[in-house]
């Protein structure tokens, strides 16, 4: 299909803006040397172009999307409608507090509910996404040690199964990353952790359930080892969907938590945002939180900066409308619905794993949480069928591939997270398709390497795309 720049003819553009009615300023040396070249297309061409692009994309509204570690669940549309209300979209962050009491109340109530779910005491909504939340959490850890004059703590311990953003955030916050090898069961190796934790340890970053979809049963021992060494424990909320309303990071011994509201709490994601990665903490750390928090004063709310705040990590109050959607979602599901969603997420994953058993090898053969990992290592060795082959073949069936080659501790990994919003029939159909793909590939391995056959583009040259990406359009020379 053509790019927007290749469409249209000169003079065919659409006038979207009214005539300029302010005097033209002279930009002097900053003036452009040539006119801006915008695509010259009519409105109907523009509309068709983007409709065609949308048809070629795949979202949760198009089909099953079991992308592990991403929680691509369906987010109720009604929450989008609430977030589009003029009363919420038409406000300005510098408006007098008296005129935005409703919005401050949303922030305050959402904070209370999410603190209840995570077992934390306060929360800042400023961070805009998951990795931003991680980075903010690490700045809290740094502020804590600094406030105690304990600045020799330079190490952050991260298990080798962690999301890649964990070590990246720690390095970004100026810490040295200590990579902790997982035990054979995919969980934290307690002896290795004891070895690693010492007077130089600033903290530990962990997800539980972890990235192989298992709940680490030693979690209380793990957080105790870190606390005994004088460090803090950071909970990456990426996998919160498995335990929300059932188990609380605060009760597991974590001091700081981030959540991905755009994932777990009803904002669709994968399209570039906006997201929200609020950071919650225990009361002893509240004074370091970034931004401004809504404080109740009698019957109204006012915004206050925590006394020893690390400052701002984003302008104003973060992505408020995403918080609003989370708040609506929490009210809709209630204290019965939130744990029920988590239980169904776990049930769906286990059901799908059981449907794939007999064909596919589970990386860890025990009941999983909200996601599980299968490995094609044997198939790759014996018949050349790789995880990527299965993923590509699924595209012909209108199913988004699972996460591939992650976590790194499993060879030829496919990581499947069905989520709680998929009906049983979808899981059965998807498992049937996957089993058939593998059966056919084992009979005739050469055919699978050609798939997908029916997608707008087939196998792309990933190497060339990574080595020599072309991301700028160049107009043909005239």
């Amino acid at each position: 299909m053509k790019l927007i720049f290749e469409l249209g003819t000169d003079g065919q553009g659409t006038d979207l803006l009214p005539e300029c009615d302010v005097p033209k300023a002279d930009p002097g040396p900053f003036a452009r040397s040539s006119a801006v070249r915008l695509p010259q297309v009519s409105e109907v061409e523009l509309s068709r172009h983007y409709a065609a692009l949308a048809r070629r994309a795949h979202g949760v509204s198009d089909g099953f999307y079991p992308l592990g570690s991403c929680t691509m669940k369906y987010s109720p549309k009604i929450n989008e409608e609430l977030a589009s209300m003029r009363e919420f979209t038409g406000i300005h962050p510098l408006q007098p507090e008296d005129s935005v009491q409703g919005c401050l109340e949303v922030l305050a109530r959402c904070e209370t509910m999410l603190c209840e779910i995570t077992g934390m005491d306060s929360m800042s909504f400023q961070p805009a996404a998951g990795a931003h939340g991680e980075f903010t959490g690490l700045l809290l850890i740094r502020a804590y040690h600094k406030s105690r004059g304990d600045e020799q703590r330079r190490k952050i311990i991260v298990p080798d199964s962690a999301h890649g953003t964990n070590p990246a955030s720690a390095a970004m916050a100026g810490y040295e990353v200590v990579n902790l090898p997982s035990g054979p069961d995919g969980c934290v190796d307690l002896d290795a952790l004891k070895q690693a934790a010492d007077e130089k340890t600033a903290g530990l970053m962990l997800t539980n359930p972890n990235t192989v979809g298992l709940f680490d049963r030693n979690i209380l021992d793990i957080t105790k080892i870190i606390h005994d060494a004088g460090g803090l424990c950071y909970y990456d909320g990426a996998n919160m969907n498995a335990i929300m309303g059932i188990a609380r990071p605060g009760d597991m011994g974590f001091d700081i938590v981030h959540l991905n509201l755009h994932k777990t709490f009803s904002t669709p994601h994968g399209g570039g945002g906006p997201g929200s990665g609020p950071v919650g903490c225990k009361a002893s750390l509240s004074r370091f939180l970034p931004g401004f928090l809504p404080n109740p004063c009698g019957s109204r709310y006012s915004l206050k900066r925590p006394p020893n705040s690390i400052g701002d990590v984003k302008a104003f109050y973060g992505n408020f409308l995403v918080v609003l959607k989370a708040y609506a979602y929490l009210l809709e599901l209630g204290k019965e619905g939130i744990p029920e969603a988590a239980r169904n997420a776990v049930l769906n994953a286990n059901y799908m794993m059981s449907l794939l058993k007999g064909h596919f090898q589970a990386a860890y053969d025990r009941p999983c949480m909200h996601e599980f990992v299968i490995t094609l290592e044997q198939e790759k060795k014996t018949s050349g069928i790789s995880a990527a082959d299965i993923a590509k073949a699924l595209l012909d069936h209108g199913i988004h591939p699972p996460t591939m080659y992650f976590p790194l501790i499993v060879q030829e990994a496919l990581m499947i997270e069905p989520t709680e919003t998929e009906p049983r029939e979808t899981l059965e159909e998807a498992a049937k398709v996957m089993n058939q793909i593998l059966d056919e590939a084992q009979k005739e391995p050469s055919t699978i390497h050609l798939q997908p056959l029916h997608t707008p583009v087939r196998r792309l040259d990933e190497v060339a795309a990574a080595r020599r990406p072309i991301v700028c359009y160049e107009y043909p020379q005239e």
Partner: protein, 125 residues
């Protein structure tokens, strides 16, 4: 899969070639095959200190980024700059595409010979 007899091997799949008092370090055929097509290579600077068991750089394939582990304590004498623009050389000829040359080596990890490394790879499940 190729396991040249004149090289020594580490458990993290680097090969070591002795050249007088210095060594060359590269990635084995097994490693390049497991990583898949490489798209970027990050190497240290000449003069950098190396610690055995710690990352000396990393390689990025279409699948993932992986650390390259130093098999020795020593100092980087030279890096193979041609790899920075042509990481595919590692996939094409892993035993010619040396990554770095190391000097002033004062301690070395336990390394395997070709035969031992071959059975080590065969045992990887």
């Amino acid at each position: 899969m190729n396991f040249p007899k004149d090289l020594k091997y580490s458990k993290s799949h680097e090969w070591v070639k002795q050249e007088g008092t210095q060594i060359l370090v590269g990635l084995t055929d097994y490693a390049q095959d497991a990583l898949g097509d490489l798209v970027f290579v990050n190497l240290p600077e000449p003069g950098d200190a190396l610690r055995a068991g710690e990352a000396l750089g990393d390689v990025e394939s279409v699948k993932a980024v992986s650390d390259i582990i130093s098999p020795v304590d020593g100092t980087v004498a030279e890096i193979n700059e041609t790899l920075l623009d042509a990481p595919e050389t590692i996939n094409q000829s892993p035993y010619e595409a040396w990554l770095i040359r190391v000097k002033d080596i004062f301690s070395e990890e336990d390394l395997m010979n070709a035969e031992e490394y071959e059975s080590f790879c065969a045992a990887q499940t």
